[in-house]
Symmetry: D3
Amino acid sequence: MSKLSHYDSAGTARMVDISAKNATTRTASAHAFIHMSAEVLAALPNNPKGDPLEVARIAAILAAKRTPELIPLCHQIPLSRVDIEFGIESAGIRVKSFVSCTAGTGAEMEALTAAAVAALTIYDMTKALDKGIVITDLHLLSKSGGKSGDYKREKND
Amino acid sequence: MSKLSHYDSAGTARMVDISAKNATTRTASAHAFIHMSAEVLAALPNNPKGDPLEVARIAAILAAKRTPELIPLCHQIPLSRVDIEFGIESAGIRVKSFVSCTAGTGAEMEALTAAAVAALTIYDMTKALDKGIVITDLHLLSKSGGKSGDYKREKND
Amino acid sequence: MSKLSHYDSAGTARMVDISAKNATTRTASAHAFIHMSAEVLAALPNNPKGDPLEVARIAAILAAKRTPELIPLCHQIPLSRVDIEFGIESAGIRVKSFVSCTAGTGAEMEALTAAAVAALTIYDMTKALDKGIVITDLHLLSKSGGKSGDYKREKND
Amino acid sequence: MSKLSHYDSAGTARMVDISAKNATTRTASAHAFIHMSAEVLAALPNNPKGDPLEVARIAAILAAKRTPELIPLCHQIPLSRVDIEFGIESAGIRVKSFVSCTAGTGAEMEALTAAAVAALTIYDMTKALDKGIVITDLHLLSKSGGKSGDYKREKND
Amino acid sequence: MSKLSHYDSAGTARMVDISAKNATTRTASAHAFIHMSAEVLAALPNNPKGDPLEVARIAAILAAKRTPELIPLCHQIPLSRVDIEFGIESAGIRVKSFVSCTAGTGAEMEALTAAAVAALTIYDMTKALDKGIVITDLHLLSKSGGKSGDYKREKND
Amino acid sequence: MSKLSHYDSAGTARMVDISAKNATTRTASAHAFIHMSAEVLAALPNNPKGDPLEVARIAAILAAKRTPELIPLCHQIPLSRVDIEFGIESAGIRVKSFVSCTAGTGAEMEALTAAAVAALTIYDMTKALDKGIVITDLHLLSKSGGKSGDYKREKND
């Protein structure tokens, strides 16, 4: 099992050196689900404006770009694509994020941060209706590129 | 049922007016759980240094303060306290955040953002071991203060 | 005529002292106009989604909150309201911003920054169609509160 | 006429994928004009210190670097040059910004954001004298590089 | 001797609770010195423009406002004044910062951060001439307000 | 002696053009020392947790990434490594920062900013014990890469 790359022998935090890594094209996709009652779902502006999702989409794109300010040991990687998809289901709202970059390290955290902030923004815009909303299943869906190779989560949601 | 306070009659997003609200003391607490394998948990520096949690703690405190930059319609509220607790359990790591403020609106989103960023940071620092880590049960634990009154989630985690 | 309050006797920049000022409720409203061709206007998703305006609205609300990071000598004032209105006219898009705060200084720059960033965002989202778009008439519409009293621009747009 | 590149078929906002674009050298220049009375112009420290313009210059350079935080769908592009020029004229102050980058997309928004923030900063530093100041003619002057080719605005200011 | 207020019994970092503290007027002043050779000092634009100092002044004012983003356990306090003074001496440049706020905690870190960033900016603008420049004597000069009472450093610089 | 590269003939600030420079691997290391009494040093949690240093380490890594937001004329350079070392000595705490990047300009300011923010954070976490703490000897230790060649400070601390 590989060791925790964020720790050196002394066990202190550091931003690991990726100087020797070539910049290659990488992608990552992440997922989150916002559980909300049918009542709250029904109250979402269900006309074509669909604003809560549009606000969350913009918040997620902006947050993806600021991931290295939020996650201390993340490298600064310029994202070449950020895309957010929402699905309205009977139990709540499903969020999927898709990011791409050409960098020396992957963009998994950017994808996860985008999904998390999208979910938090939807929470913020609906919490007046229900304080019991729960965000769950925040995880990586897939990644490609980089020496650790590709990854695809086996469907279980 | 109260209406979605983020929407005016035209259904467009706005930062709602809290000018008329008095600044009162408010608290909020939020929760997240990071599911990880026993193998990954065992690999966490299990000596008193406990660094992954310390990095996550600092990231969470910083993120709580930047919530209005991340969640578009949040008001800027100065936090008078941010505290993060971690519990290491057999199935993973439990995160609880506690925030206080004296403001015209509550700090639920600050508590939730802190818990989310703590969980994402732990994910970042352990993902080299397991890409299947899942963050779940991100929700409000309790809030106090404000005209909507107090809230306490019935224990179900 | 009052002197330039940003300059002390030595003519060096400073953030002027407002310690002695009481926090009172203040409002400010600003305006901008984005001149674009009928062709570009027609290409705006003219269905109820109206996305370019929704993206601009969110960008403007976020920018208003970050005004003291952008305008060096602005004080940090917590905004109690930010609202953005758009009007689609034959010659382009009109933007109006409305902000409120309870602070020791006014929020004119927050209103102007919101209007400017809304206009820049619309420019960004339509520039693929026309590089000749022009943003004009960026100015204050009105302000209330504070010792300098109220101000209302005589209609000339 | 090219379609709005910020919109996919579903009409939802996204940060468009530039993964396939080569990083090439690009430049962009933008313009803004701050209309102010002769009285306000005369009150500008007209000695060699010229501070209001120096503060605006620094604000503009800093803002250019933060454009992707302000304009939601902008990519993060490292700027290799930012330069701001001011001209004091009888009717007010003319701002010109010049930016360069080596990237997969252009820096028009960085140039426009720099010009806008320079103008807003000058407004902030002179508004004590006149609330009627107007910022106008905020537009692109020229761009070079990229597949959409070069652009030069025909002089009309 | 008072205990380290940033640590609770478990020794983990937290943003200490200041909910119970009244907002009172507080001031803080800090100092830094940039040692540079006579040659570098002579090369500073020694005309009235004095630009390196003006750039540093603006950088310092902006940095003071962002202290809680940089120093993890600092509270967000709105500054009512930030002022920077420079003295050109035979051995280098002396920086003094002066900040005021009305808050439940003091602004010592804001004053120190302003002085540090002013010094770093001067370093940045002169390093082409001499990589041996040293910033020293970064310390608090004085503070007033708050329950810990006033403090004035005995002159020793 | 090279001229001040931040100034053009007109003596106005600008972000110098590095378009023509090739991106090469560069490193920089900086130093700071926090003088504190034996009493304050003894009060530092002297168990393996060593928290004040861990908080400072994270703050320093985050600050290094945000250097171009703090130092106005710095270019945005993606850091490939940030590492912070602390030494506890009889007179105080020694900080050393190590950064690497592949860019068209060096990362000296990133190294210096990291060292400065680490020192300021330690100050913040110990100031309750002693307001007389002094940060000194903030300077470059070494740099490599770039046309100006390598630099190594002769040991004098």
